[in-house]
């Protein structure tokens, strides 16, 4: 830095600019900036995932052609595999009766911002649908009959989904076998607990926990009987008022690529 006389004014002007940006952003006046940048970055992010399958060789034309053909076929196979996976996911989802297929909007996961692959579990995911597709904050997100999370933040074309395993997640649930009710709470790092269950209620390892229904008048929230997961452990202290169970979700959030939003219309 050349001199403190130049440094200080630039620094304070910069700080002022940041506060100005925050002010405008809080009132939603900079939505166009967010949309254009996220469109560019997430678009480029998709390009990074395309496998490099082009081979080059300068020796023989025939080998060149064969290699090009091979590369094209590999690309086509990779493309087919993606379509097949999407097709299977869509078929599985739309064959279900709960939730009703007409209420589902298929979306693609384009980012897992809080994840280091194979080190930490995603707390939230970014999907390629936003306000333009009619999505609003609080809508439930599912994968087959299992709860995935809720829409937490939105731009015109993208949304941030807080997963059911995140610490921000909490809703009423019940044990399908015994009918015991309690509160499903995300613990972060892929863990869920079924808490506040009365000591007199029975819980069993392997039991399925489903949502009890937490929709509001506008239809936002989880409808009843969506699967949360299965009980893998029970913590029961005779001197405590409640017992608690550890629940394992059936959705592989670190690898899944497609989810479905319950739009309610």
């Amino acid at each position: 830095m050349r001199s403190r006389q130049v440094f200080l004014p630039v620094f304070f002007v910069g700080i002022g600019l940041c506060f100005l940006l925050l002010f405008f952003s809080l009132f939603g006046w900079l939505g166009f900036v967010t949309d254009s940048v996220s469109w560019g970055v997430f678009g480029a992010g998709k390009i990074f995932t395309v496998p490099f399958t082009i081979f080059t060789s300068a020796n023989q034309n025939q080998i060149d052609n064969l290699k090009k053909e091979n590369a094209a076929l590999r690309l086509s196979l990779a493309h087919d595999a993606v379509i097949q996976a999407d097709n299977t996911a869509l078929r599985d989802q739309f064959q279900l009766t709960t939730p009703a297929p007409q209420k589902l909007l298929p979306v693609q996961i384009v980012g897992r911002p809080s994840t280091i692959p194979n080190v930490s579990f995603p707390e939230s995911v970014i999907i390629d649908a936003g306000k333009s597709q009619g999505i609003t904050i609080g809508m439930a997100v599912v994968s087959q009959s299992s709860i995935a999370g809720t829409v937490a933040r939105l731009t015109d074309n993208y949304a941030l989904v807080n997963l059911v395993t995140s610490k921000a997640s909490s809703f009423a649930g019940k044990d399908t076998t015994t009918g015991a009710i309690g509160v499903v709470k995300g613990q972060g790092n892929g863990e869920i607990i079924f808490d506040n269950v009365l000591l007199s209620d029975k819980l069993k390892i392997g039991d399925t926990i489903v949502s009890q229904g937490s929709q509001d008048a506008s239809g936002k929230g989880y409808p009843p009987d969506l699967i949360v997961g299965k009980i893998t452990g029970i913590e029961k202290n005779p001197s405590a008022l409640f017992q608690m169970a550890r629940v394992q979700t059936l959705v592989a959030f670190d690898t899944i690529s497609r989810l479905f939003i319950l739009t309610g219309n």
Partner: protein, 139 residues
């Protein structure tokens, strides 16, 4: 050419931080740039990078910029008191910076701090070597 390389690095860091990893790569880039390029425009670059980062991480625009500005302010304010071009300073500053970054913008992860420390140290040593080589070349 230097500008192009820097913008390319920023874009790659943005893409990775927004879609794949939680490691604060943009913060690391700003820090290393500030360490070697002590010019006023680094503040402008910090604000612009912060705005881009906020746009793709669903934060309010200006949050990251404010963090970067405060960090750079502290860094430049203390540059005469400490030997900023040393590995010890880089590791300490990065550790503290990443800790507060994780505290403000996400859960604290030891792995996150470790990755930034390793990446930052390697990049710092490489840049230092490149800088000293180019200086001796022009001497």
């Amino acid at each position: 050419m230097k500008w192009f390389f820097w913008i390319l690095l920023l874009f790659i860091s943005l893409c990775l931080e927004a879609t794949v990893v939680k490691v604060p790569l943009v913060f690391l880039l700003i820090f290393l740039t500030a360490l070697f390029v002590r010019k006023e425009w680094i503040f402008l670059a910090a604000i612009a990078s912060g705005v881009l980062l906020d746009s793709v991480t669903f934060r309010f625009l200006g949050e990251s910029s404010l963090f970067f500005m405060c960090f750079l302010g502290i860094l430049f304010a203390y540059e005469k008191k400490f030997e900023t071009q040393s590995l010890g300073f880089v590791m300490t500053a990065l550790g503290i910076g990443t800790f507060f970054y994780a505290l403000f913008f996400g859960g604290i992860l030891i792995a996150e701090i470790l990755i930034v420390e390793i990446l930052g140290s390697v990049a710092f040593l490489l840049l230092q070597r490149v800088m000293s080589r180019s200086e001796s070349h022009f001497a």
